[in-house]
């Protein structure tokens, strides 16, 4: 079927199999590879993108279901040469080690902050339950989200 998705503000249109998953459309058809496939079973959150502004796991959505909708990936967050505040906070707070989970963590954090601009540490942990970090750097990830929200990073 023909699928047209607005990816990071530009329309991407392609003929794909009905069973194509959104994550594969993003990586293979739109050519954007920040979005990772980790577990492929809806557990790890590495594939998290925003669909119509809300964080979703793109390994568990059909490209067909996003037809006519808007997707934002990590590549779509930053402006020209400018990091998004959440990206900057992940860098400043050492919120990543190998970096594999990072695109998904950042997209989930952006969605979390959109609903709760000043989260407590506990709320950050609850909001990021759907994202796993194999390097287990959760403490600094929480620091990064608190920092991005403009709050003092307690320890």
């Amino acid at each position: 079927m023909k699928v047209t998705i607005e990816v990071n503000g530009s329309e991407v249109s392609d003929e794909v199999e009905d069973r194509t998953l959104l994550v594969h459309f993003i990586r293979d058809n739109a050519g954007l590879t920040a979005t990772n496939v980790g577990c492929d079973t809806t557990s790890c959150g590495a594939c998290t993108v925003l669909l119509d502004g809300e964080s979703v796991k793109s390994c568990t959505i059909l490209a067909a279901q996003a037809d006519g909708h808007a997707v934002t990936t990590l590549e779509g967050l930053s402006g020209e040469g400018e990091l998004h505040p959440v990206q900057r906070a992940f860098r400043d707070q050492h919120g990543l080690q190998c970096g594999f989970c990072t695109p998904g963590m950042i997209m989930a954090s952006v969605s979390l902050l959109a609903h709760n601009p000043k989260p407590t540490r506990e709320e950050v942990r609850h909001g990021l339950e759907g994202n796993l970090c194999r390097c287990t750097g959760y403490h600094n990830i929480v620091n990064a989200v608190v920092d991005a929200s403009g709050q003092e990073v307690g320890r």
Partner: protein, 270 residues
């Protein structure tokens, strides 16, 4: 992992969805949030030939009050329900439980209708709707019918829904001001409940204590007869048939049911 090949159809109305389901019969499956169905298809545990996507039916994604009832569209997502002011006032148990399902991303996609029809004995909202004395409104080729929640869950992953029927609404009596409590015990944040308890007023239902969500009838009877919360909670596992699993024996589950029921009843009374 990629699902086996299927034909994707998108329904523009309830009638069209029912017609499509009627045309393909057993071969077709409804696709809502896809957060139970697509994982099964990726693991090739399910391989429907046709998917009928109902996500465009925005009319089924609302909560409204109708007389003494709160009517919840089957396509309302967990995240919608968690933040819904009508639900928060009139069925606060459901609003709370919707915020406890899965994780943030799952709550942005999964629907109450999909969760109920999937009929997993570990599902949170099934037990909560059962505690609320809810009813499920279904549309099929013969029109609408209403099935009480108590008659909807027939066994693990089994409901009385026909292949050409669509769940459109869930109705629960409005109960503003009623105390409620919800407890679920799990090993890790994203796990399903090993055991859970949903309480509204003096109605108590249990998650994962049988092949379906069940009411804790002995506890409810004791409460009606004026027993203390602690004495009533001690009866929570009576008549249940929890499964034995490597990480949770039946006796452990019975223990959890009693402890969690005591906590949920106290929360509801407090």
């Amino acid at each position: 992992m990629i699902p086996a090949r299927f034909t994707y159809l998108r329904a523009a109305s309830v009638d069209e969805a029912v017609a499509m389901l009627g045309q393909y019969g057993d071969e077709a499956k409804v696709l809502a949030g896809g957060h139970s169905l697509l994982p099964l298809m990726k693991l090739r545990l399910a391989a429907p030939g046709v998917l009928v996507d109902i996500t465009p039916l925005d009319g089924l994604r609302q909560v409204r009050q109708e007389g003494g009832d709160i009517v919840i569209g089957a396509l309302s997502r967990f995240h919608d329900l968690h933040g819904d002011p009508v639900l928060a006032e009139h069925a606060p148990l459901l609003a709370h439980v919707a915020g406890e399902v899965g994780d943030q991303q799952v709550r942005h996609r999964g629907t109450i209708g999909g969760s109920l029809v999937h009929a997993d004995p570990a599902a949170d909202l099934s037990a909560a709707v059962l505690a609320c004395d809810g009813a499920l409104v279904v549309s099929g080729p013969q029109g609408r019918r209403e099935i009480p929640a108590a008659e909807f869950f027939l066994g693990p992953f089994t409901t009385p829904l026909e292949p050409d029927e669509l769940l459109t609404e869930i109705r629960v009596p409005a109960r503003a001001g009623t105390g409620w409590g919800f407890e679920k015990f799990r090993r890790r944040a994203i796990d399903w409940a090993i055991v859970g308890v949903a309480v509204t007023g003096t109605s108590v239902s249990l998650i994962n204590m049988a092949g379906t969500p069940v009411r804790a009838t002995a506890t409810e009877r004791a409460l009606a007869e004026g027993a203390s919360l602690a004495d009533a909670a001690a009866l929570a596992a009576e008549g249940t048939s929890p499964v034995e699993e490597p990480h949770a024996s039946t006796e452990y589950r019975r223990h959890l049911a009693r402890v969690l029921t005591a906590r949920a009843l106290e929360r509801a009374a407090g």
